[in-house]
């Protein structure tokens, strides 16, 4: 029962420590100085996130582990943490207008986003089941609250409550699976589980199914997607942008790490689960989105579909597959944040408009906005030479190399169906009569949209850096 502090260095968790302490300091600032500090707290929160990201990049290279091996910082973790931090920071920037309304000056919003990001970083670095669960809860609990942060809006409250109840259910399933896995392997450590699981006994597979069900809920993959459209529609739009970006990165990261590092011995068993989930998500994401009238619901189905595509890469269970997932999620985050910058701009007479028909004739009133949004939509549909095409390219190539031809073919077919509803919006913007003037775009939205648009359009010119970093990150898992 003796304890030695060897293996408990704090250097690998330095970024997390800075983020946690910084978030608490900002909480104190807000609590003592009141709601007037909302803007200041938001600004400082973005600075804190940037600082955390820089610290993450400055950590010594290679694989660092601490806390008895339950926390690991490898290239995979670095890549995804940076991505999650970018997602959170951009969300905070997108939220400034939402928070500037006098009735909604809640400084806790930024603190909750920071703490949720802390949960994501823990989740991405988790190397055992307890760390995984704690990271997941820290991330999700803050998300439930921000979903309901527009307190006077019934839909926002509904979104928060629905997300909370279903999230609690999924946590229960995940814990049940984790306890079964612990029961059958005698360890919660991913490496230990991998060593113990050489053959797929019924008990292990049973536990794995529950664990994956819990994780599927977090990435909103079919059949655990039911919450997504309602929560996306009900939550305030900047919060929806947040849901669609950073938490998806973290959930997909832990999905990848669990399957590839804890269960490499039973690839066929989880492969068939992932193939089913991927096909179902891609199909539902494509077909169910067609009838949508609300742009946020449409983005919800779009994100369900995109998670399906990302899981195609993971289903192959190879280095190329993991690399495909990483490239996919990076490009997906850029496309999503850009699209939400456009959706946040859509305001008439001070009121946010969310119907797809409100985009009619946007090319005549705001040609530049319409052009960039059209490019983002083409990219989401996967049309070359935009970034979204390369994202799909890498996952499908990985699936074909792994011999999953059916999956790849279904994926391509559903992406054709999916292209229909993206093209509908483009047709509305370019060929229909204008539905009226929209308010001028705020500077922060303009910046986000410009960066996302440039990345999206010119990715094909110089894809090298992202792809090589993703390759290195994927290799660090094997």
């Amino acid at each position: 029962m003796s304890f030695s502090s060897a293996g408990y260095q704090l250097l690998p968790v330095l970024p997390e420590l800075v983020l946690a302490v910084g978030a608490m300091a900002l909480l104190m600032l807000g609590a003592y100085r009141g709601a007037e500090t909302t803007k200041l707290v938001t600004g400082l929160a973005v600075v804190l996130l940037v600082l955390t990201g820089v610290l993450e990049l400055m950590l010594p290279a290679g694989k660092l582990t601490t806390f008895g091996g339950s926390f690991v910082v490898d290239d995979f973790a670095r890549f995804l943490k940076i991505l999650a931090i970018i997602g959170s920071a951009v969300t905070l920037i997108l939220s400034t207008e939402f928070l500037s309304d006098p009735s909604r000056r809640i400084f806790e919003y930024s603190i909750l986003v920071l703490l949720s990001t802390l949960g994501m970083m823990v989740l991405i670095s988790a190397a055992d089941l307890i760390m995984l669960y704690l990271g997941l809860e820290l991330m999700s609990l803050a998300l439930y609250v921000v979903a309901a942060s527009n307190r006077d809006n019934a839909k926002s409250n509904e979104a928060g409550l629905k997300y909370f109840v279903l999230g609690a259910l999924s946590s229960g399933m995940l814990l049940y699976g984790a306890s079964l896995i612990y029961g059958f392997t005698g360890t919660v450590d991913f490496a230990g589980i991998a060593a113990a699981v050489k053959t797929g006994s019924v008990g292990i597979v049973f536990g794995l199914v529950f664990l994956l069900a819990g994780l599927c809920f977090k990435v909103s993959a079919v059949p655990f997607h039911m919450w997504t459209p309602d929560v996306y529609e009900g939550a305030p739009t900047p919060v929806t942008a947040f849901f669609a970006s950073a938490p998806k990165v973290a959930a997909l990261a832990v999905f990848t790490r669990v399957t590839l590092t804890a269960f490499p011995g039973i690839v066929p068993q989880w492969q068939q689960i992932l193939v089913f989930v991927a096909i179902a998500s891609m199909a539902l994401g494509s077909f169910a989105a067609i009838g949508q009238r609300n742009i946020k619901r449409l983005m919800a189905y779009s994100s369900i579909g995109h998670m399906g595509f990302a899981l195609v890469g993971l289903a192959s269970g190879t280095v190329e597959g993991a690399q495909g997932v990483l490239v996919y999620i990076a490009i997906y985050v850029a496309m999503t944040l850009g699209s939400f910058a456009v959706i946040l701009t859509m305001k008439r007479n001070g009121q946010a408009v969310e119907q797809i028909s409100d985009f009619a004739g946007l090319s005549r009133t705001n040609p530049m906005l319409a052009f960039l949004f059209a490019m983002l939509l083409f990219s989401l549909a996967g049309i070359p030479p935009l970034a979204g095409f390369f994202a799909k390219w890498y996952v499908f190539v990985a699936a074909i190399k792994a011999g999953l031809f059916t999956l790849a073919v279904i994926g391509v077919l559903t992406s054709v169906v999916g292209a229909f509803y993206y093209l509908t919006i483009i047709k509305l913007m370019y060929f229909d009569e204008p539905a009226g003037q929209v308010e001028p775009m705020r500077i922060e939205l303009r910046t986000v949209l410009a960066v996302a648009g440039i990345f999206n359009i010119f990715f094909f010119v110089y894809p090298g850096p992202l792809v090589s970093v993703a390759t290195a990150a994927a290799k660090s898992l094997f």
Binding site: M1, I106, I111, A142, G160, V202, F206
Partner: protein, 212 residues
């Protein structure tokens, strides 16, 4: 050896029976009381297995806090539970189907476990001989598992912030107690001496000064 077995069946039997009663009893307050009985018996089972700390925690946390809170909520909210249970017969078939599926799955797992006896050996970590449960937990909770402990603390912080964000409202018209203002009151501020003319009482203008 017969005594622990006897107690096991006693606790387990009462636990299952009271769990059934939680669902079938008509009065929600009785349901909660049966739930408490189930918790107490479950904690008895823990004690039988040598996990006395867990057993006590079950009583302290679930019986002492959760169940009592539950009881409060049920008594405070006038929920018509008979109305809630109206669809019971209607949903019974689908409930039975799902229950059957779960039972089959559980049997599958139990079957797998029996068929591979090797797994049984690895499922429990070695229990140190000369340390009590509580002591063993105390030895590792703040050392080996300090990171879990700290992150759990962050989760609780989020829960606290969330509760405040979602429920605290600063209403402009609510009179709040400000101790500084109260302490700064002087007799000159709080009292006024008026001469009341016979048969007239206080004038309105005097009363207005009082309200301040």
């Amino acid at each position: 050896m017969i005594l622990p077995a006897l107690f096991f069946y006693l606790f387990a039997g009462v636990c299952v029976a009271s769990a059934v009663m939680v669902i079938v009893s008509r009065n929600p307050v009785h349901s909660v009381l049966y739930l408490i009985l189930a918790f107490v018996n479950a904690s008895g089972l823990f004690v039988l297995m040598g996990a006395e700390f867990l057993g006590m925690m079950l009583i302290v946390v679930y019986v002492g806090a959760v169940a009592v809170l539950f009881l409060f909520v049920i008594m405070m909210l006038d929920v018509d539970f008979t109305e809630l249970r109206e669809g019971f017969i209607e949903y019974l078939p689908i409930g039975l189907v799902i229950g059957g599926i779960f039972l089959a799955e559980l049997l599958l797992v139990a079957g797998g476990w029996v068929m591979s006896p090797g797994t049984a050996k690895s499922i429990t970590a070695a229990i140190p001989a000369n340390v009590s449960n509580t002591e063993a937990l105390g030895l590792v909770l703040y050392t080996k598992y300090i990171h879990y402990f700290q992150i759990a603390g962050m989760v609780l912080l989020v829960a606290m912030i969330g509760a405040i964000v979602l429920t605290l409202r600063h209403k402009a018209k609510v009179k709040r107690q400000d101790i500084n203002v109260q302490n700064a009151r002087t007799p000159e501020l709080a009292m006024a001496v008026r001469k009341v003319a016979p048969g007239q009482g206080l004038q309105d203008s005097d009363a207005a000064e009082w309200v301040k």
